[in-house]
Symmetry: C2
Subunit: 345 residues, 2 copies
């Protein structure tokens, strides 16, 4: 019998301490016009001139985001497409069609992932598992979202001109791609040191115009579990970064963490709250599979790369609903996957 | 620098030879009424009295299938719910809601997977990767489909009474759950020896009433890659088993394999062609995430368990489309993930 290796914690814990180094060799971000006008506008690799990206449909536009992001990231990595053993990808659309039609032409074996807006964390986690477990030398992760395709998928087609409450978030048009490798290089953006795969957390909330509140309990669960498993406190991290809780969800998360005896307010950042300026009228903030992905590539990894931050817990958050489940009166559970990133400096 | 371990083949190959034994400790299957009347009817663990399984909606019924299948499989495994480190699951519905609402109550960290009808193979593959890589001791995999929820999701609500051509398949109502472990027991159903993660293969076909033809090229690609990577011929396997090609897809697969110089006709079996009797008027055969999952649990693993078969290549096949992609005139690419199963006898 093989003994379980060091990656396993004891029962009740659920994090993975990565047993061998896994590096983020390169990444790329591509974003839409509104995102381009926001605070990270000049840090994205590409900003579209319009949100159709030369396509006939919003879904094709989103596929194009994935294709361009991955092509850019591969180009930067110095690793050939043929050397990338697996591609882990997903998006918010039914049956993940943005990934299907965006990534088919790369002809890399595809592991399709679904974790709603947390998919970026899940894809990076599973790519890390594959590399750390010796199943791949290099792997790529891609996720995306598009404001117009998401509105059509989850709420109303844009033509309806529906109004949105202030608790609603704005789905980010963008895609981030990441090339992970077991091989150290001169230019690695960061290392992955730990993973905490999330559970479904359902507080029974049902308001799809307030997804931050739906996801906050899941973020709390994963962050608390991560800190407990590793025996750390919030101050051990330069930042604890959620995906897209927005302003309403952030408040709920801080309160829930305080109830567990942990104050994360000094180190917490939410990608959704940072991606738009207040003047951009995005209400609670940005959301979507693309939100944390483009912020990770354009901003978070930059801080780690430059050594400004040493250790970050990146926690993409997902709201688990579909148009059907919502219309049938189901709740909106949340899930959040934690990836611990450390600077190579 | 860590060297890549034995799981890696050289470039151009893409299979994984599992470096440490991973066992299928237990499994369970639950199926609908039509499936219960078919050839495997008395081999499923549970057959529903009606296809609503006591629920108000088809989607909830499908969630119930997953919940019951997983509870049964855990019960048989002798492993407690708390010891199961990860749950890998998915289904065909938009945003995988059958899994969300079926599995939340187990409170096991969830890796959401999407591979259309190939998801069962993908989930088992990634659970195997996690266990073989030392990231988990025990993991569970669940997939499902439901005829009525799938018709609503992809084609027409049942009330429309639409007619179906003979090339159409019938989505299986059922769910299969599998408990995988690194720990050998007296009652393991089979061992997992190799994996071949599939690529997206797009021949440009667009007929959602002939998904067997859409998926056959992907099945061919994965089977050919698997046999080539491992240096084997079809006769080295007691069976090469596709998920849901149906009669039309089978013919296409055999022809394509012959063009590559391999005749699999003597060992090929398709779960979709076996799950219904010809008298049941299911046209090309069964399909869906649940089809190969229930056949694997009820029939394939039984043959391996009893030593009647020594080595099987299990290749669930998926058609990558959504209602939106279909209506927008996109093609229907296929994907197939190969899992090599060997008898413990």
């Amino acid at each position: 019998m093989e003994e379980a290796v060091g990656a396993i914690f004891s029962q009740g814990q659920r994090s993975i301490k990565i047993p061998v180094p896994v590096y983020i060799r390169a990444s790329a971000s591509i974003a839409g016009t509104k995102e381009g006008q926001g605070p990270f506008g000049d840090q994205f690799d590409v900003v579209g001139k319009d949100d159709r990206f030369g396509c006939e449909t919003w879904e094709e536009a989103e596929s194009t985001l994935q294709k361009e992001a991955l092509a850019l990231a591969i180009g930067k990595s110095g690793i050939s497409k043929e050397e990338i053993r697996y591609l882990l990808a997903g998006d918010l659309l039914g049956q993940s069609i943005a990934s299907t039609f965006g990534l088919g032409s790369f002809q890399i074996p595809l592991v399709g992932m679904y974790g709603a807006c947390s998919t970026c964390g899940l894809a990076i986690s599973m790519a890390t598992v594959m590399i750390a477990g010796g199943m791949a030398e290099h792997a790529a992760c891609v996720t995306s979202s598009h404001f117009a395709s998401a509105e059509k998928e989850f709420r109303y087609p844009l033509g309806y001109g529906n109004q949105r409450p202030l608790s609603a978030s704005w789905t980010v048009t963008g895609s981030g791609a990441f090339i992970l490798s077991s091989v150290k290089s001169e230019n690695d953006r960061a290392m992955i040191d730990g993973l905490t795969i999330g559970k479904i957390v359902d507080f029974g909330l049902k308001d799809s115009m307030n997804m931050g509140a739906c996801m906050a309990p899941a973020a709390c669960d994963t962050i608390y579990q991560h800190l407990t498993d590793f025996g750390r406190s919030p101050s051990d991290y330069d930042r604890i970064i959620t995906g897209d809780l927005g302003s309403v969800g952030q408040k709920a998360l801080w309160d829930m963490m305080r109830e567990k005896g942990m104050d994360i307010s000094k180190v917490h950042m939410d990608c959704g709250m940072e991606i738009y300026d207040r003047s951009q009228d995005a209400h609670a903030g940005g959301s979507g599979c693309g939100c944390c992905a483009v912020v990770l590539s354009a901003y978070i990894l930059k801080q780690l790369e430059e050594g400004k931050w040493k250790r970050v817990l990146f926690v993409p958050t997902g709201a688990l609903l579909s148009k059907t489940s919502f219309n049938e009166g189901q709740s909106i559970p949340g899930i959040a996957h934690g990836v611990e990133l450390v600077s190579c400096k």
